[in-house]
Amino acid sequence: MKQRIILSILVFIFILSTIPLHSGIFPFQVHRKVLDNGMKILVIPLPNPGLVAYYSVVRTGSRDEYEPGHSGFAHFFEHMMFRGTKRFPNELYQKILTEMGAASNGYTSLDLTVYHLIITKDDLEQLMDMESDRFRNLEYTEQDFKTESGAVYGEYLKNKTNPGFLLNETLMNTAFDVHTYKHTTMGFEADIKAMPTMYEYSKSFFKRYYRPENVVLVVCGDVVPDQVFKMAEKYYSPWEKGYVPPKIQEEPEQTAPRSGNVKFEGKTLPILAVGYKGLRYMPDSKEYVAMSLLGDVMFGSTSDFYNNLVLEKQIAQFAFASFNGDRDPSINTIMVMIKKKENIDLVKQTIADTIKKFQTDLMDSKKLEDLKNSNKYSFLMQLSSTGDVAGMLPSFIALTGDITAIDTYFETLGTVTPEDIRQAAIKFLTDNRKTEILLEGE
């Protein structure tokens, strides 16, 4: 026993190049099964004696909160799911997890809610029994519901002390009119405050979205696929279908640039956020992949923009860009913290000049190769432990329902040329797609 535990502490090694398990960049074999009720299970054996990562990915995030006045419920369920069931009331559930020494947590974003645990392999069946039970039979009293809504509001207050949170909240609210990306994952403050009155609604939210067709289970680590599938049949098959897709309104095409200002109740240097509406996540589309690279190429840590504003002129305290696709077309953002107020216009102009340059000139092909290599090694270096491997998968699952998108993205990446980058800059960085928000402190 001691030997096994020591090994599990000491050993987690991936042979990324020596055993060709798979032709794509994702180096591990993935075993799949879809149950009759539509629930998909992915099992990925890893050479990590003793440990198992158990990720339940619900393909519902704040995107699915389409009913007015009810934002924040996806995140709220991340909290409620720990409230227990008849068979495993909260205290018993917690006690068993404690006995298991489980590392457990959850998170929510625009497109997903994830419940993750890392346990020792001997506890897998017990865990699956409990997890399947809470996904099928979650039960909570109105009192529990109201108590948890207080904790959620506490989390909102904590986040609100961060100017980055406030800026993002304002950016999304300004950029979108009808699509649910208008609110952040936390939800609108008024909705969070009103949550305690929405007990009945919460039950309908759970019934509609926590259904097998909308959940993908990932089990990674020291596991045998057939055994996991057999267990999954036993515990998840009784879960009834019933997913009701959200009625999300499509965002109309933006026709003019937008802008806004937001005041942070505290001191901060000014932060400028410039967002451009983009494409939804499409790993097989060269146009999408080229768009996703623009942020790094134009504003990343080796860009002329960064070198000029952060390292040489030292006008900006920091600058970064995030160009990632979501499940529906969302927004790609450049953020710059500016040291002196009088330089705000200069930063805006430098952003515009940078865009113009990339729309006109072809980027250096060596830089593009560097970027491709950077993506590759960055990916490989994330595969350091069972938790790391499992942890990188949920976003792909949320966006596409599987993880084949990883290999597809890298295949498409290999074909992107400097001209593709130029075309993406021309198409996606236009004034009609732009929203600009300036945050300033007191």
Binding site: I19, G266, M381, S384
Partner: protein, 500 residues
């Protein structure tokens, strides 16, 4: 597939650890050779930190280390370094703490040569040029003036609390400096600090992964270019005696209140009571885990905040990490209770709730069933503490720093399983107490809070939502839990005066 798995296992289970002091060098080396591990981890850990910041130059150690990790070298500007690191998706960083400066980074084995060359040059041949100096110094000053004071009440509370707990000792100095001190630091100060504090004699090198057999020797030979000798002073840190309950209120416009409670404890990893108190603390407040008793009382039953934890070793960056970081050694360590922000009108109640639980643990000890459950929990949970080579290597370096004869991590389970309830309860009585505490609040209306504390006025709680009868009954006891706070022991500091 089964055959492949066996191949995997037989290939990977060739693991070796060793700690060397090379005969010809004062440099200490911790090696963790792991066959087929493609990620190479490197640590350069210097036994110096903010304890060595000179009077009037607080922040110098951090500024110097930041210039090394985020500045140019004699061979390359930062721009060129970034360009070379970019295609290999690698990098190095510096974590500066009270006692140690830890430079570390990882790279894929394909890129070891490029990575190591740049990393080595950063430490051995820093350019210390004016542009980098101005940039980083400005960032650090802005980091206090805006980020720390206004962007994260949680980190602000932790920073003030740590300085307060160690008041009167070299640990009091804020690692990130103070605004006026940072403003007074010159580039010459940085160069002088580098020259006198980055020495072979206070260096530990850590190497992990499937590195070439000759690599450690090469690294030691390279770093033997650093000066030898060690004239640095490491005075024993003797904390002030805390008399009664002493409070700092950081007064700032906010609707919430974050609370930190604690005191230094003279208990280190090699001490016989360490695991006993570790277990008790895990029950009271395991970090970011719902098994924490404080979490159950304050968050789970009452929905007052996001989480409530306790510690018997320093745990920086608690908001960002799920498991304890390595190389943040302190001697003495500190005991801390961390109440994450609660609504302002519940701040005194939250303090009372935490103190009441602490008192109960000390007066009554752990219950048998809680002891058994926590023992089971830790025996398995310890597997999560370090699940990558880089993290395990960090723990190995800590073993050397803490002067352990056997590995803390490898023997953790054995040591926990050997504990008895009696040992644990004796350790609680011996090392914890509730009469002499230092407390930090980050909140608004400081005068009102001071008055509430010194008058020991009841602090009944009201909820927006109904609560079970047993919670309401317990609330009545919590609301009048005695607070013995003298007016002269409460200091209110305006947020703009923090680390000024």
């Amino acid at each position: 597939m089964k055959r492949l798995m066996l191949l995997f296992l037989s290939a990977v289970l060739i693991v070796g650890f060793s700690m060397n002091t090379f005969a010809v060098s004062p440099i200490k080396v911790v090696q963790m050779k792991i066959q087929n591990e493609p990620i190479i981890s490197l640590y350069f850990v210097f036994h110096t930190g903010s304890i060595h910041d000179p009077e009037g130059k607080i922040g110098l150690a951090r500024l110097t280390a930041s210039l090394i990790s985020d500045g140019g070298t004699l061979k390359n500007s930062l721009k060129v370094i970034n360009e070379k690191m970019y295609p290999i998706a690698s990098g190095y960083g510096a974590r500066v703490d009270r006692e140690y400066i830890n430079f570390n980074g990882q790279t894929h084995i394909d890129n070891l040569e490029t990575f190591y060359t740049l990393f080595k040059e950063a430490i051995l041949e820093p350019a210390f040029n004016e542009d980098d100096f101005v940039r980083i110094k400005t960032q650090m000053i802005n980091g206090i003036k805006t980020n720390l004071r206004y962007s994260s009440d949680e980190e602000l509370g932790k920073a003030v609390f740590k300085s307060f707990v160690y008041r009167g000792t070299p640990y009091e100095k804020n690692v990130a400096g103070t605004v006026s001190n940072l403003e007074s630091i010159t580039l010459d100060d940085v160069k002088a600090f580098y020259k006198s504090h980055f020495l072979q004699d206070n260096l530990i090198i850590g190497v992990g992964g499937n590195y070439p057999a000759t690599f450690p020797d090469r690294v030691v030979a390279d770093f033997s270019k650093l000066p030898t000798g060690n004239a640095l002073e490491y005075k024993k840190i003797v904390p002030e005696k805390i008399n009664g309950i002493q409070v700092i209120i950081v007064d700032k416009p906010t609707v919430s209140a974050g609370i930190h409670i604690g005191f230094p404890i003279d208990l280190m990893r090699k001490d016989p009571d360490f695991h006993a108190l570790f277990l008790a603390n895990s029950w009271l407040g395991e970090h970011r885990n719902s098994s924490s008793h404080l979490y159950q009382v304050i968050r789970e039953k009452r929905g007052m905040n996001y989480g409530d934890y306790s510690y018997i070793e320093d745990f920086p960056n608690g908001g960002g990490l799920n498991f304890p970081p390595s190389i943040v050694y302190k001697n003495p360590q500190l005991f801390e209770i961390w109440i994450r922000p609660v609504e302002k009108d519940k701040r005194v109640f939250a303090l009372r709730a935490a103190l009441r639980e602490l008192k109960s643990l000390i007066d009554n000890g752990m219950k048998k069933e809680d002891f058994e459950l926590t023992k089971k929990f830790l025996a398995k949970y310890c597997q999560h503490y370090a699940d990558t080579t880089a993290q395990r290597l960090g723990y190995k370096i800590d073993d050397m720093i803490y002067g352990l004869k056997e590995s803390h991590l490898d023997n953790f389970r054995k040591n926990i399983e050997a504990l008895t309830l009696d040992q644990v309860n004796k350790a609680i009585k011996k090392h914890l107490q509730y009469n002499n505490l230092r407390i930090v609040f980050v909140t608004s209306d400081g005068e009102q809070l001071k008055n509430d504390l010194i008058t020991n006025a009841p602090s009944p709680i009201t909820y927006r939502t109904p609560k079970p009868e047993e919670v309401l009954t317990e609330d009545k006891e919590i609301a009048v839990f005695p607070l013995k706070v003298l007016p002269e022991n409460v200091t209110i500091i305006k947020v703009d005066d923090i680390f000024k």
